[in-house]
């Protein structure tokens, strides 16, 4: 499936399950900061992409390790810690961003 050997699919599923909340919440932070701006779309991309890259590196690194038969625990644990940080702390940043945008 997806051109990958079936042994790497569990890793793929785990990294997707952990990475998606992080990407969603980081995107929400960016959206909260730029929602009140006219033509804020490009600025949103500029703000959010640098924050996305660690997640992308970790996720693709985990899959690469799974394909090479190496240990994936390191990558998965890092993704899990990013997910924990994002789920607990991102709402405060989103609140701050929305307050700022409401004032605008």
């Amino acid at each position: 499936m997806l051109g990958l050997p079936s042994t790497s699919l569990p890793t793929l599923m785990i990294t997707l399950a952990l990475g998606t909340p992080v990407l969603t919440l980081l995107g929400a932070i960016g959206a909260a900061l730029t929602v009140g701006l006219r033509r804020g779309g490009l600025l949103l991309a500029l703000l959010v992409l640098p924050l996305y890259i660690p997640v992308l590196i970790l996720g693709s690194g985990a899959l690469r390790a799974a394909l090479d038969g190496l240990a994936v625990q390191g990558f998965v644990l890092w993704l899990a810690s990013l997910a924990a940080l994002a789920i607990t702390l991102a709402p405060w940043a989103i609140i701050a961003g929305l307050r700022i945008s409401l004032n605008e």
Partner: protein, 253 residues
């Protein structure tokens, strides 16, 4: 412990005066360290046995990269101070420091590419440290862009503070990227606790240029902050007095 000094420092006219008195010392110290360090490193230090003379760019590349990361940490601290204690001077610091940090990141990337071409054979590789420094550059760019995009200054201050704090997660990733991923970029040149793996003739100029760069950064930051304070509070009495005094003293000559 009394925090009164902290709140006293946050008053613009006091900071303006203190920065004005500090600037000549910082400027002279930075100039001396930079000139001595650069001339020594670029001209007189011995060439590396493997890399030849291209190793000399170390004396610019390393301080610039260190400063790029330190500046972002400074932005995050300024963001916290601005949000928690609502001190406007912290926002002035954030606004003034961001372009300097961005320039240092760009300088580190460019000097790194110049160093990489003869030594690694490539201008750019998607190595962990290079990629994370590039992310830092984009973070700076986004921060500066966000500050310009929001017209209300208080909202802009809060937004930039939030973004600076969110992005500071990247700085430990950069610092430890050479430890976690051994791809291409070499490990740390020196740590605070161990002697560097270089002979003294090679790391002594570095010990001069690194403080020189930091003092230069301090100098430029204070200059920019003073200008920004005058721009923001130009109509206030202390600013008129500060400007009026310098004009009057020129008239009496």
């Amino acid at each position: 412990m009394s925090w009164a000094w902290f709140h006293r420092l946050a008053s613009p006219p006091r900071f303006y005066g203190l920065a004005g008195r500090l600037l000549p010392w910082l400027g002279v110290a930075a100039a001396v360290l930079l000139i001595v360090g650069m001339v020594w490193g670029l001209a007189f230090a011995p060439p590396d046995y493997q890399q030849g003379n291209s190793v000399r760019i170390l004396y610019i590349h390393v301080p610039a990269a260190m400063l790029a990361q330190s500046c972002y940490v400074l932005l995050a601290i300024a963001g916290v101070v601005s949000l928690v204690w609502k001190i406007k001077l912290a926002d002035v610091a954030l606004h003034s420091a961001a372009p300097i940090g961005a320039s240092m990141t760009a300088l580190a990337l460019v000097t790194g590419a110049i160093w990489g071409k003869p030594t690694w054979g490539a201008w750019w590789v998607w190595d962990a440290r290079l990629t994370s420094m590039l992310i830092l550059l984009f973070l700076y760019a986004g921060l500066i862009a966000l500050g310009q995009a929001i017209s209300n200054r208080d909202s802009a201050a809060k937004a930039c503070a939030v973004l600076a704090i969110v992005g500071v997660v990247n700085v430990p990733i950069i610092k430890y990227s050479v430890v976690w991923w051994s791809t291409l970029h070499q490990g740390a040149t020196f740590t605070l606790t161990e002697k560097p793996a270089m002979p003294a003739e090679m790391w002594l100029p570095l010990a001069l240029t690194v403080p020189g760069f930091y003092l230069f950064f301090g100098c430029v930051l204070l200059l920019r902050m003073r200008t920004e304070l005058l721009r923001r509070e130009g109509r206030s009495q202390w600013a008129q007095a500060a400007l009026g005094l310098s004009i009057d003293s020129r008239k009496t000559r």
